[in-house]
Chain length 364, copies 4
């Protein structure tokens, strides 16, 4: 049973392979009447584009978004909103030597086991190229959220063991796009970039962490019992390539606290009930409480190395392989817009889901 | 749009409130022909039962599982398998003083915001009592998995800052049930119990971590792109009350490694392709690779304290509240069977989903 | 993959077998804040109850509805709303002779083929007893619809070849409950009752047709492309035991008309756009247009006869069987509340679905 | 909540508008390893193509199917299988005069009511052009079914009041494609064609009926309670443009029979249990019994007339309109491949669903 769709009402389906003709997305359930500014969409996709800086893959793709349905006079009609991106730089020969091999910590072996055969060109469907389609959907979701005063933000908070230690309250999000690693502190960003560059020259790769913040989310989003807001958000993040962990609010660190330290007392500010602290990460009982939703996402080091490593052929023989394609030494900088996109899709979906939870004056 | 169902094929729906007449579960999609041993089911539910030791809540519930449909002559028929548990110890008066209050870090406020009114008796639907219904479903899932040689194991690996440092390979899982905190190392367990007891006497609470291991899982389970095995497993865990984080394989720690350290080289052992290391945590590209699936789940300290804390009334006034019910000072020991149950449900669902992924000789 | 749930947002799941301990229903997605009047629910269930007249089965069941979750102080909370009905008159011995037989035109053979074994007591899950659980859900749906001024009506329009020929405009729906066959024309009802009684004395059974009308449905319900309102309504009706056909508006008769006769011209009445005729049956392009939604449902003659018929044993031998239980000679009178219930569930679900279709001033 | 996807495991999503740039389909859940012969797919799409004969619309479209994902070396990979068809003959000016009008018995009014604005070019999303995408998916489904020896057949059995009276047993399906109306009896076909031609010259339209037969379907497909095979088949058919009714087996005619006439006695033929008659239409209790599945689908006369009719402007004024585009005087001949396609999709989905219904020796 397939799993290429995310969301219950704002339903995002992606299709296409890394080295096929194109990738695409169908958004079924985008509310009618939303004005789509293609430039804003393209801008988001450009933030994820390969070749944008020296610390990313040099694969050349213009990643031009082309909407093909669901729009009339610039506004959504309620029909499926779909868009395509052509793959331009498909150097399949880069991968031809890998058809008979299972690259370590890639999906080659597991796809082969599951399906009996696989598209070996550039990882096929398992390539992170698929996430470009998600960024389109995320950009549409952001337009919906904007109408409700909600924004989904993310930044790189750790590369290897270099951490940004500042608190979220002091963070200047306007600085995120000011450097190529997308860390809002220029000094820390410099160290991160230097580390990635050193790792890259080494033919190696390194992991990192992205912190996400959702601002302006009203109280009430999220569904008991299984579709808690943080559970869906967690699934959204864990579905991104290379992600190994998700935590929200106090996360793993919170386990060492006592309840008397960890509880968030309620307080009334300007007629609104808020909490003094935010260990809850903006979500209580699976439902947003109106505070900032905060979370962190762990990315492993990319599996493709530019140095030799021992691998295993499909025929059972040990081999030595070495990445020859164009790969990222560290994914986090390009993953920032993907994290934002998946967060936006999740919140937009729950915003729509929430419309159905109670009786209304006007029953429609 | 509701969220009380988990799973795509093995579909688990729970219903009932903490202080209502009963709680229940409907499993739709349990394969026909499965022999159900009620004693095994009851035994799993008993592991989660309140009042089992001095470090858990003293609420008295026999939690007797009563199957009411889906069975004929002891075997499942393919019809919905449903079971009920009566609530016996419903001292609603314990909570009457809380109706007009939002307890800090509980779901009172968010449920009120979402639904406009709420069942304030013992947390109503947001109470962890609901998880007893999941344990029934998990026990049924375990019976399915057993037929395929798969088992889902879990244990307490951290309470507060007391950690079990041993590696999974050296773990003796037969020791988990030998102590009341469910940590397989007797010495560390003793420290954990002492800490929880001290915290309890203090009227306070403490968090902890549960480590899970799924053994015997064949390669091939999990669905690209969004329903990756670890994404669904993560959602399953994040849907458990008090969970704040999920990681699998190398998790958050893995971000500091280089790809050349983190990659898991393939090796052939006894005619089977395996990996030398298991930083992947048994899952690559979202699909199981046949190695042990390993993950960790972070639980926050319980929000209900037996000491006074400042809260906020529904009418806008600050108040001082103090838990008067019977609550757990630390949830992890009772959460072990819940983690196992949700893991079993997730794997059983993907085991069934996987049956449909490719053409077969016998098309049926 | 199971199929015991109906609806996308107002999700109805039934469980239980004809001769098990109880049957039940879980409604997940019932909006919070709906006042539930248990008497109204019971009244609807009583209309379907066996033993209500000489032309129905004499099985004795009080069919007492017992709500067990989802309510607080008489109103829905947004949590799963569930209810149980105990089976009282389970004379399983009536069916013991049938365990080794496949009754003609029953589900015995197909359940056996599908699942490998079956609950042979009274048809088990395939018995129409399951529809009592649907009537509970339908009654809840009716309460939702009432708040929007919508009502779902049905009546018996044909038994065997006895037809009610009156037009819907002239129909007095207050007469439906005035006779035991539920046909609003007393004279025609008398003929129908006489026919059913004669058939019953003969140990035989007869089919019939139920006409449904949904009044007050606003324009805009239904979802292109596959979830057209009439497609979901048709599926709802076809899921009722013994149903063989569904048509709406002009239906099968409409195929003989020309477009110039069949088209429904628009007209403005009291500031509202309506249609002069209603061959469309209140639905155009799969979406309600504000006119009455009209449809017809065909029921086959019941398969259980009180006279001998040739059958086939599970071991391959021909046998002669004869119904010994208590069965309906014609199902249509008891099926009227079921048709209404399934219509109400379908419309309530689409009413809620429709809340998400467009951008709103207030995005929540 | 959107409705552009059909199927639970073999999931078909269509997108695109009549006068947009292209239409497309994404099939998520097509089993891996299926060989796709593009010529066979194209052939099916050609059967639905406009302009194929004098009794169909003269719109010129080559309807060239272009697969863009999910294939590797000619076989499905388990990834979403997607295909596009460019719209070539988009004479939007033909429709410009209709933007301010609600055409009688079209979806103009209801889409406007639902979404607040609409794509008025050629009916936009509500145009039957969308069904070309379904035919692609249906052709893929047919390839799956073929591997299991199942075929979905359909033919025109009625146009206006001209009926084909022959029984299904005597039907020569090889004759269906021998004439332009797709009726297997040449003599009746001639009459039908003459009628359609006369109606066309009159600027009018006429309805008709398509009969469907599914051969070779094994016993066991279909899911109690709501997803009965005939309920899903019915929904599939009712989702096709212009369909007003669905019946299977004895259908509406069966209501006049007695149970003793209508029951299908079991008989053993060549070691297989079959039924002597087939009033059940191959489905009992919602599950296939191994006999031919038979059904009938009613199509209304097309709403677009080439003669003047009274309509209603969006601004409230009565107007006179006349179709100026190129439209079908009767849809049934072109709808035959659509009926077959939707039947194939439904059966393929249930074939896959059925793989999960019971425990297996090999649990995978």
């Amino acid at each position: 049973m397939p799993g290429n769709t995310f969301g219950q009402i704002f339903k995002v389906t992606t299709f296409g392979e890394s080295h096929g003709e194109m990738i695409g997305v169908v958004i079924d359930g985008c509310p009618a009447g939303l004005k789509i500014d293609p430039k804003l969409i393209q801008k988001e996709v450009d933030r994820r584009r390969p070749g944008q800086s020296k610390i990313t893959t040099q694969r050349k793709e213009s990643d031009k978004v082309h909407f093909v349905s669901g729009l009339f006079e610039g506004r959504t009609t309620g029909a499926p909103l779909s868009a395509l991106i052509r793959n331009e730089d498909q150097r399949s020969q880069d991968y031809s030597h890998l058809i008979d091999q299972y690259r370590p910590s890639h999906a080659d072996f597991t796809y082969q086991m599951k399906y009996g055969h696989r598209d070996a060109r550039g990882g096929g469907r398992s390539s992170a190229r698929e996430t470009a389609a998600r960024v389109i959907a995320g950009a549409v979701a952001k337009l919906i959220l904007r109408k409700s005063g909600i924004e989904t933000l993310a930044f790189v908070s750790q590369v290897g063991s270099i951490r940004l230690e500042a608190s979220l309250d002091q963070m200047d999000f306007s600085q995120v796009e000011k450097n190529i690693v997308r860390c809002p502190d220029a000094r820390v960003a410099k160290k991160m970039i230097d580390l990635i560059d050193a790792v890259r020259k080494d033919g190696d790769t390194i992991g990192g962490i992205i912190t996400g913040v959702i601002r302006g989310c009203p109280a009430g989003l999220g569904e008991p019992i299984f579709d808690r807001l943080h559970a869906d958000l967690g699934k959204a993040m864990l579905s991104i390539n290379a992600v190994k962990g998700f935590e929200y609010g106090s996360g793993f660190g919170g386990v060492e606290l006592r309840g008397s330290e960890h509880n968030d007392p309620f307080i009334e500010r300007e007629g609104k009930i808020q909490t003094v602290t935010n260990y809850s990460g903006g979500i209580q009982g699976g439902i947003s409480n109106g505070m900032d939703i905060t979370f962190r996402v762990a990315f492993k080091p990319v599996a493709t190395l530019m140095k030799p490593q021992i691998s295993h052929g499909t025929q059972g023989k040990r081999t030595v392989i070495q990445g020859r394609g164009r790969h990222d030494p560290c994914v986090v900088s390009r993953a920032v817009p993907i994290v934002e996109a998946m967060a936006a899709i999740t919140i937009a979906d729950h915003l729509l889901r929430n419309r159905t939870c109670k009786m209304q004056e006007n029953q429609l």
